[in-house]
């Protein structure tokens, strides 16, 4: 690891964030684009969930995480508080992992 790489990574990732929030974000945009932007969290969060639950690197893998995240889905669908959803997800995963070895 070199300091050049550390600083370049820092600058690059900050610029990417700023590009969306400050540079592009100010301009008036067409209604259709606005409707699409409103759907970004749904599409991307769903993708983050399946990728964090069902994959390791390039491999699709079903393991204890699926049990934990499924429990989280049930809790969320019953409008449990976020705290309960998180703790339940981790706890079920830990238990299933411990039992399955």
């Amino acid at each position: 690891m070199t300091w050049e790489l550390v600083l370049a990574l820092g600058a690059g990732s900050y610029l990417l964030k700023m590009l969306g929030l400050v540079v592009i974000g100010d301009r008036p945009i067409p209604a259709a684009l606005d409707r699409c932007l409103a759907l970004i969290p749904a599409a991307l969060i769903a993708a983050i969930i399946v990728s964090n639950t069902l994959s390791i690197g390039h491999h699709l893998q079903i393991d204890a995480r699926l049990a934990g995240v499924s429990a989280a889905v049930v809790a969320a669908s019953r409008r449990a508080p976020v705290l309960v959803v998180i703790v339940l997800g981790a706890a079920v995963t830990a238990v299933v992992r411990a039992i399955a070895g």
């Binding site: 964030k17 969306g20 932007l37 993708a47 399946v50 964090n52 809790a75 705290l83 998180i86 238990v95």
Partner: protein, 228 residues
């Protein structure tokens, strides 16, 4: 500004702090991993302070550890960070204000702060959720990194199921987004595209590809279409 007396603020604070602490434990494992591949404690902490995007940091460290070039470490990490541009665009509607404030906010634009903010109903709570989540995670992420880098070895986050705590938190944040038919469709398409592309696209790219799901928003909504 919503105050602490507001009954909606207390549960928001609790969930933000829980999430931040779970992420802090993950930061410990980043600190350990980074030092293990030869980065100094100062470099490891600088990565967390400046990059502040877990996936990018882990990928950069992994590529360096595998003997990859600086260019490949850079491109992999920035690909993973590219979704923050899209999240920044989403947040720009909610975070108006003076330029210095928005430049500061930009550093806190990450998956969790965007998701927690967009899960709220009112603009005031959306702004509050963004700053509390982003701020708390920034503190815990950097504290965890420092502890991990100094300790050199730490608890195994997998043993406590903490690898699933993060997707579980996202489940809680996704739920309120799914009130419209279009949002449910966008989520289903995004998740499917991501799963299909994981085996062959570079890591991080499938999550960006999921943004194609938002194209269901293009057609003019019918007058009777709405929440269901």
């Amino acid at each position: 500004m919503a105050t602490l007396r507001d009954p909606r603020v207390r549960p928001l604070l609790t969930s933000c702090l829980t999430l931040a602490m779970a992420i802090g434990v993950y930061a410990i494992s980043f600190g350990v991993a980074s030092v293990a591949v030869g980065a100094s404690v100062a470099q490891t902490c600088a990565l967390s302070l400046l990059v502040f995007t877990g996936a990018s940091q882990f990928s950069a460290v992994a590529v360096v550890a595998a003997g990859g070039s600086a260019a490949s470490a850079m491109s992999g990490a920035l690909l993973l960070a590219a979704r923050n541009t899209v999240f920044g665009l989403t947040m720009s509607r909610r975070l108006t204000g003076r330029l210095p404030k928005r430049l500061l906010a930009a550093q806190l634009v990450i998956d969790e702060s965007t998701a927690m903010s967009t899960a709220q109903d009112e603009p005031q709570l959306q702004r509050l959720a963004f700053w509390i989540t982003g701020g708390a995670i920034y503190i815990f992420w950097n504290l965890g990194t420092l502890i991990g880098a100094l300790a050199g070895n730490a608890i195994d986050p997998r043993k406590f199921g903490l690898d699933a705590a993060i997707p579980a938190a996202f489940v809680a944040m996704l739920w309120p987004q799914l009130r419209t038919v279009r949002a449910r469709l966008a989520a289903a398409i995004g998740a499917t595209l991501c799963l299909i592309t994981i085996p062959f696209l570079p890591i991080g790219m499938p999550i960006l590809i999921a943004s194609f799901g938002v194209l269901v928003g293009i057609p003019e909504p019918k007058p009777n279409e709405g929440r269901s």
